[in-house]
């Protein structure tokens, strides 16, 4: 704590840092700690990327090689199935490219459905009057307190009875409209002024036209945030695919990675290829995150907005 005392004693809490401010020991110390923390948070990513550029022998050497001495993109070509490889056992002949596509399809359908259907429901909860509105909303909130593990077995049985095991339906249908998304969109919709909706009605807009042409454009930032974290949730989802899929051609990226990793089944995959596949799998989310950070943070910390 001492560094904070010194730092804040040396400089006022806010306001631009004036160039004449003496560089105090406390401020250097604060920055040093922030930098060390930064290295700790970044290092695993750095290690993954640098390993993905190395041949296997350069990973299994002592002392470790921090910078790849003979970097190449071979691992990427190998994992994509573009160059022949005797190091990797693609289960069922399915490569990273196919799995990447699978994950994309599942996440895109879910995201589109969730944004549209949750916005509709959220609009009804926030702005329309109907019988049972509060009771329905409260029952939804109540179930959000129950951890997902409770629904694990019942959902498996339901999917088995529907003959949906080994299909994408269990990963797509329930996610088309989630309680969290409805809750999120409702909070956003309450900020839309009633006068605006009233005016649309007077101008002759029906209920759907009012939603689609007047309300939806206003809550577009909320939809964008929902779209981003909904996509991320499905892209990263592991438990569902693990339970419902065991045909390699249906695998999503996280399941593909887990299967490549020795613990699950088949011939173990060398670590440099695992790191390469891992990096490819998180790349889309990292890129979206870096360009649309605001929406990510808004959505992921939504619970704290009371």
């Amino acid at each position: 704590m001492s560094q904070r005392v010194e730092a804040s004693a040396a400089s006022p809490h806010t306001g631009p840092i004036s160039p004449t401010t003496a560089i105090s020991l406390g401020r250097i110390f604060t920055h040093l700690l922030l930098l060390i923390a930064l290295l700790v948070f970044i290092f695993p990513f750095y290690w993954m990327v640098s390993s993905s550029l190395k041949p296997l022998e350069d990973i299994y050497i002592v002392p470790v090689q921090f910078w790849p001495t003979r970097p190449s993109f071979n691992n990427y070509l190998e994992i994509a199935g573009l160059i022949p490889s005797d190091e990797i056992d693609f289960r069922g002949g399915v490569s990273l490219v196919r799995t990447f596509l699978n994950s994309t399809i599942i996440a895109v359908i879910n995201t589109a459905g969730n944004v549209f259907l949750a916005s509709l429901a959220g609009y009804a909860f926030a702005k329309l009057r109907f019988k049972g509105r509060n009771a329905l909303f409260l029952s939804m909130l109540a179930t959000m307190m129950i951890p997902n593990s409770v629904g694990l077995v019942p959902n498996y049985l339901i999917m088995a009875w529907l003959k949906w095991i080994n299909t994408w339906y269990p990963l797509i249908i329930p996610g088309l409209a989630t309680p969290f998304a409805v809750f999120w969109m409702r909070q956003y919709m309450t900020t839309v002024p009633d006068e605006m909706i009233e005016a649309a009605r007077i101008d002759g807009c029906g209920p759907f036209a009012t939603f689609w042409r007047v309300v939806a454009p206003v809550v577009l930032p909320g939809m964008a945030a929902l779209a981003i974290f909904s996509f991320m949730g499905h892209w990263n989802a592991f438990m569902g695919p693990l339970i419902f899929l065991n045909k390699p051609e249906l695998y999503t990226l996280p399941l593909f990675l887990a299967v490549l990793d020795s613990r699950v089944s088949g011939r173990p995959t060398p670590i440099h290829l695992i790191f390469t596949a891992s990096f490819v799998s998180i790349l889309p989310i990292l890129l979206v995150f870096l360009f649309a950070q605001r929406y990510f943070i808004a959505g992921l910390t939504a619970g704290s907005l009371k």
Binding site: S8, T30, A37, W47, T143, P254
Partner: protein
């Protein structure tokens, strides 16, 4: 609604346009919420109730089961794996929650100031939060488990015998602790930052004029005003501990690793359900887990409110 229920020989086509509009107006809210409620009913609400029934059954297969009363719940008292998982989860929770709060509040407090490069720091600290948990597991499995990791090299330069952190029971919990903190501190930091931004700057200004130093204004302004936000973060971390699955699965497997030191609640529920196919017992475990989570959350809320009223 009168228009609908009146028997009409003319058929719906002859209802005047204004009334048709009126019906749509009345029905619209239900039409708007029904896709959500149908899905939510089948895959969200019904399973929660259905799980209670499942937990009273002994399942022979997906289709046949037999009522066995409370036997699945009685088994909780004799199941060694459940006791180990519960105590592991509680021990880790006792370590994780305070560390998480302290670290995230400290980072938030520093980065709430106009410090140079704070956007870069924030972005970097938040990066693990958007990373797939499977990848997090893979990375930490190597970085903390392999002798060919940078850590292994460091150990070797100092001539310390090192076989990786994950082979020995006593090192598994610290490894999981580090992984959880790495993944979630940035997330909690953002929650704390949102809270800090709602504290009026004038309060700090007034305290400074009255001669308070940085530590004093942190302890007497920030912490009391952040009490609810801190409690919220603590509750989320507690709930998270009882729900951890992916990272632990990748790091130690469903066996829980050496000495079962990494066996957690999330792992045994999965194991009973989908490796032993004890659907009934898995549901009893999941309900026990849910009750523990809800009780702990209420205790934390209660403690926060009492502290606030004093």
């Amino acid at each position: 609604m009168g228009v609908v229920s009146t028997p009409s020989t003319l058929g719906p086509a002859s209802i005047p346009p204004k009334s048709r509009y009126f019906i749509w107006e009345k029905a619209a809210p239900y039409v708007f919420i029904s896709p959500f409620f149908i899905l939510f009913g089948i895959f969200g609400a019904f399973p929660i109730l259905f799980a209670i029934w499942i937990s009273f059954q002994d399942w022979k297969s997906v289709r046949s089961s037999e009522y066995i009363g409370l036997k699945n719940y009685a088994r909780l008292f004799t199941d060694e794996n459940f006791h180990i998982a519960l105590s592991n989860t509680v021990i880790l929770g006792i370590l994780v929650v305070p560390l998480m709060v302290i670290l995230s509040l400290s980072f938030a407090n520093v980065l709430n100031r106009p410090i140079r490069g704070r956007v870069i720091y924030r972005t970097a600290y938040f990066l693990p939060v958007v990373t797939s948990l499977v990848v997090v597991g893979i990375l930490f499995d190597f970085l903390l488990g392999s002798t060919y990791s940078p850590l292994g090299s460091v150990m070797q330069t100092f001539d310390i015998e090192y076989k990786g952190f994950l082979n020995k029971g006593e090192f598994i919990k610290p490894a999981i602790l580090i992984m959880i903190l790495w993944r979630w501190v940035g997330y909690n930091m953002m929650i704390m930052l949102a809270g800090l931004q709602s504290i009026p700057y004038e309060l700090y200004e007034a305290a400074r004029i009255d001669g308070a130093n940085g530590l004093q204004s942190f302890l007497y302004i920030t912490v009391p005003l952040m009490r609810r936000v801190i409690a919220f973060a603590a509750i989320l971390s507690t709930i998270g501990m009882f729900n951890i699955f992916e990272e632990a699965y990748m790091l130690v497997g469903t066996s829980g690793g050496a000495d079962r030191a990494g066996l957690l609640m999330g792992l045994i529920i999965y194991r009973q359900a989908f490796q032993s196919f004890n659907f009934g017992y898995a549901s009893a475990l999941a309900y026990a887990n849910a009750v523990i989570i809800i009780v702990l959350s209420f205790l934390q809320i209660f403690a926060t409110e009492r502290a606030a009223s004093e």
